[in-house]
Subunit: 302 residues, 2 copies
């Protein structure tokens, strides 16, 4: 069985009925399973996670984008999170028996349909980007809906990869791409000083010279009287959890602070945790086929 | 999908053709998958691992025992490993969607057929034992084929749970039971002194006051010039890998010795390794449904 995850972000964080209609359009496709949906009223944004065989997920993603373009109007939209479209961003994520290249192809096929059938300009991003300047989503979205409304069609650097050279009047523009599975990972410190969490976050984040696939920020956890280094592990194979954890632990010692615990928020692939066991147990020559479940899964694929 | 593992041990370690015939009888049952087969000439014994749905594995195990009773004759058998039957021991192991009680029931049903149809006396052992003195396989097998030949039928303590009160003239007697998944785990030390490995093994093994579900011995690894604590983790939930590893590491320090690595021999369930990640990353409130593969497996079962 091949499995692809798709995580469309919709610019609707306040009307649960609208979100349910959008989600319903996706899950109506046979073989599409809903893993998660989250709404944030401040951000005025929803994040939906579906999974299934590649063709089913591709169709489900299209139906969701189509429904969002009918229900979400960017012209009156406000919220804390930057956005440029009714469906703001839609990444495909390889989960099982599927390569990143397969996901890039899905992004291209979805982009072509969204651009052609829905007349929404589409920018391919991350692993699907057609030029280096489009790898980073923040750069693609720069100017947001209001700015891009003027730029698309006039600035050649903003020519979309698919669809008209003109923003959709209400549904805006959409970024479609392919990226690795993202693990949301927090490390808690026995200090009330948020400055320490921020310094440690800076020591591990890519933007400040840290690990290549790590985004991190420092926060206060007021009800516990502690601080937290909040991390997005955007590629857990490239920058593994154990290395980030050990670095945070060591950096904290420099301030006389201890790690009290860590948290995985939401889902994590088993292999990200198996890699931690491999590291800490100092395993010699361990092969992923030695994990019973992996061996059984292989047999199923034969 | 429900999955049960079955690990029959046959008293044939020198004739690959005989073993292949026995294995072939098991895998001829639809739904039985062969995971592993190993022969040891010195022990004159073979260990076969099959997996599948409970009913298929039950039928496969019976066919294997039946074929072994035709091909293996205990009357001329010699080897280093203690044994009492053509099929010496046959445990069922819960793997997925199956409880230990389910495996005890499988052991009972298999025992009834082996006793009744093949006229081989059967002793239920470990989780399937009908009295405390039969939990330990070594005690059940005490006296081996030659000794039990005289005892069964004369000593009421040796009355079998199923089958005749008389040993099978060539196929002997068989222990059938249910037990947790066994993880074979070795820890390597940068010392050439086997006495240190033996002392550390004694510190962790149940028989000498150590962890309840740990069997351990010390060995030399001559070609690497090091020593090894070789461990059978007979219940990795009860006595987890990380705790045993950390204890061995600490005990080794007492002799000025370091752990150079550890090895998992053969298969290990993912959850045994996830438990290690949970420990070393100091995870807070981690749930097994957060492992992507577990969530997907749950969905499949619905």
């Amino acid at each position: 069985m091949k499995l692809v995850e798709c995580v469309p972000n919709f610019s609707e964080g306040r009307d649960p009925e609208k979100l349910d209609t959008i989600v319903g359009a996706m899950t109506a496709v046979e073989g599409v399973r809903l893993l998660d949906k989250e709404m944030d009223a401040d951000h005025n944004r929803a994040v939906v996670t579906i999974i299934g065989e590649p063709e089913a997920v591709l169709e489900g993603a299209f139906r969701g984008i189509e429904k969002a373009s009918e229900l979400v109007d960017l012209t009156g939209h406000e919220g804390e999170h930057p956005r440029m479209g009714a469906t703001d961003v839609c990444p495909f994520v390889p989960v099982k028996g599927v390569t990143m290249d397969d996901c890039v192809e899905l992004a291209q096929r979805l982009g072509e349909r969204v651009g052609g059938e829905l007349e929404i300009p589409v920018f391919l991003y991350e692993a699907a980007a057609t030029r280096p300047t489009r790898e980073n989503l923040a750069k693609v979205r720069k100017g947001q809906f209001e700015g891009l409304r003027d730029e698309i069609g006039t600035n050649p650097a903003k020519d979309p990869d698919y669809g008209p050279k003109k923003i959709h009047p209400t549904a805006g523009a959409t970024a479609i791409g392919a990226r690795p599975f993202l693990v949301a990972y927090n490390i808690n410190l026995d200090s009330a000083d948020v400055a320490i969490a921020k310094k440690i976050a800076n020591s591990i984040r890519h933007a400040r010279g840290g690990f290549r696939y790590v985004k991190a920020m420092g926060f206060e956890i007021k009800d516990r009287g502690i601080v937290q280094v909040s991390i997005n592990m955007v590629n857990y194979k490239g920058s593994p959890l154990f290395r980030v954890f050990e670095t945070v632990k060591r950096e904290a010692q420099r301030y006389g602070v201890n790690v009290v615990g860590s948290e995985i928020v939401g889902l994590v692939p088993a292999e990200a945790l198996v890699a931690c066991a491999d590291f800490y147990l100092q395993l010699e020559d361990f092969k992923s086929e030695q994990v019973l479940e992996n061996l059984l899964a292989e047999d199923e694929e034969e």
